[in-house]
Symmetry: C2
Subunit: 248 residues, 2 copies
């Protein structure tokens, strides 16, 4: 059984997004349909522990340095400056596009590292962003390699755009798996293309993906295939180091 109080409180932190980084007690109470007194107690407790901080003047709450601290600990453990970073920078060089590493976490994809293209026009992702698995090559390739029961569950969720034509969509994912890589064009904003390969552990469970993205006017089928081959060249090493990191 789970702790309801803790669960509700942690869920509150979801409201602190880049778009809405600060909240007052009553604002958050309205947004979450929870009594202001309860919100105030939760926020005060988070604040007391450093997970939030309350601005003394505006009384609004912000994400606190304790989260920064713990986040850095996770980041350091992932050792991104170590083994994977150089590989990603090499790939950014050879493909000429922005390279980024996505990890599967709680049925979503979290971007944990990027190596930016040196070109002036490039795709910019944010480290630490979390995405649903439905859109973008870096996410869909994870979906393609997910174990079948889990995949079906996700495809049939209420928010899933795959729900409408499930059969066809699932077949497309199977094709991706047969091909070994995935490309996509304009799925987020119509301006971007992506190419991605899966990263698996030795038991063939999906861990994440290694992908590139760039402006859609630079997309051509042939270059995409070249870029996919470049990514596949780094796949083995990335998988190995990633597995080592995640298993200790």
């Amino acid at each position: 059984m789970l702790l309801k109080t803790l669960s509700n409180a942690l869920a509150l932190l979801d409201y602190f997004t880049p778009a809405t980084p600060s909240w007052g007690v009553r604002d958050l109470a309205r947004a979450s349909n929870i009594h202001p007194a309860i919100i105030q107690r939760m926020l005060a407790t988070f604040s007391d522990q450093g997970f939030l901080r309350q601005d003394p003047d505006s009384k609004k709450y912000w994400l606190g340095l304790r989260l920064f601290e713990l986040g850095q600990q996770v980041r350091k453990r992932l050792d991104l400056n170590g083994a994977i970073r150089p590989l990603m920078e090499d790939l950014a060089q050879t493909t000429g596009e922005t390279v980024f590493l996505t990890l599967l976490d709680h049925q979503q994809g979290v971007c944990i590292e990027i190596a930016e293209s040196s070109r002036s026009i490039k795709y910019s992702v944010e480290v630490g962003h979390r995405y649903d698995l439905y859109l973008g090559s870096h996410n869909k390739v994870i979906l393609a390699y997910l174990d079948p029961v889990e995949r079906e569950r996700i495809l049939r969720l209420p928010q899933s755009p795959f729900r409408a034509r499930y059969k066809q969509q699932a077949a497309l994912l199977d094709e991706i798996r047969e091909q070994g890589w995935c490309s996509s064009q304009g799925e987020y904003d119509g301006q971007t293309f992506g190419v991605a390969v899966p990263l698996l552990c030795p038991e063939n469970k999906i861990l994440g993906s290694l992908g590139i993205a760039g402006p859609i006017f630079r997309f051509h089928a042939e270059t995409a295939e070249k870029q996919a081959k470049a990514l596949l060249g780094g796949q083995a090493q990335a998988q190995r180091t990633l597995y080592n990191i995640l298993s200790l």
Copy 2:
């Protein structure tokens, strides 16, 4: 009033340090003197929300990607790559030592950014580390500028090394404030020296400090004074940008 359940649960995360990054249920129960059933519920709830993740094989719990995600959000808001970073890199160049920015948070100092010295032998701090305010120039200078009642409270805490000879120690802090900067030698490990200046908000409340550190064999009183002057040169700009960041 604070939520006891939430407070206890958040305090559990303190046990996940770089030194002990993973915990089993019963291990953590022993370490914290809390019943294993309670620990298991807390960890399971954190895990469910992505704040921890449980290794499927070893069953041990680790800090999860949700913390990474939220931590990145805090980091991005601090906009360290923006205004302050170039200043710190300049200072690293002119002083020849590692420059780092410490923020006051919950009566402790959190290092939020570093600009490393280009020399081969240099002091390395970790971004995201949290320190008590008793040791090191970057922390003591904060203590020196803290408002008197708060300072006295901290100096008299059980773990405070200042408690023994309170009067003399407090006088030393006053000297630091008169001087406007602080230097220290070998307080952590006997191998390191540091020089730091305070960063204040317009109302003269202490926000943090800007400091340098290097191997103690490079320390001389004259160079320290030069380095302090270099830091003081960047103080005004650092204070301004820091204040802007923290107040919105």
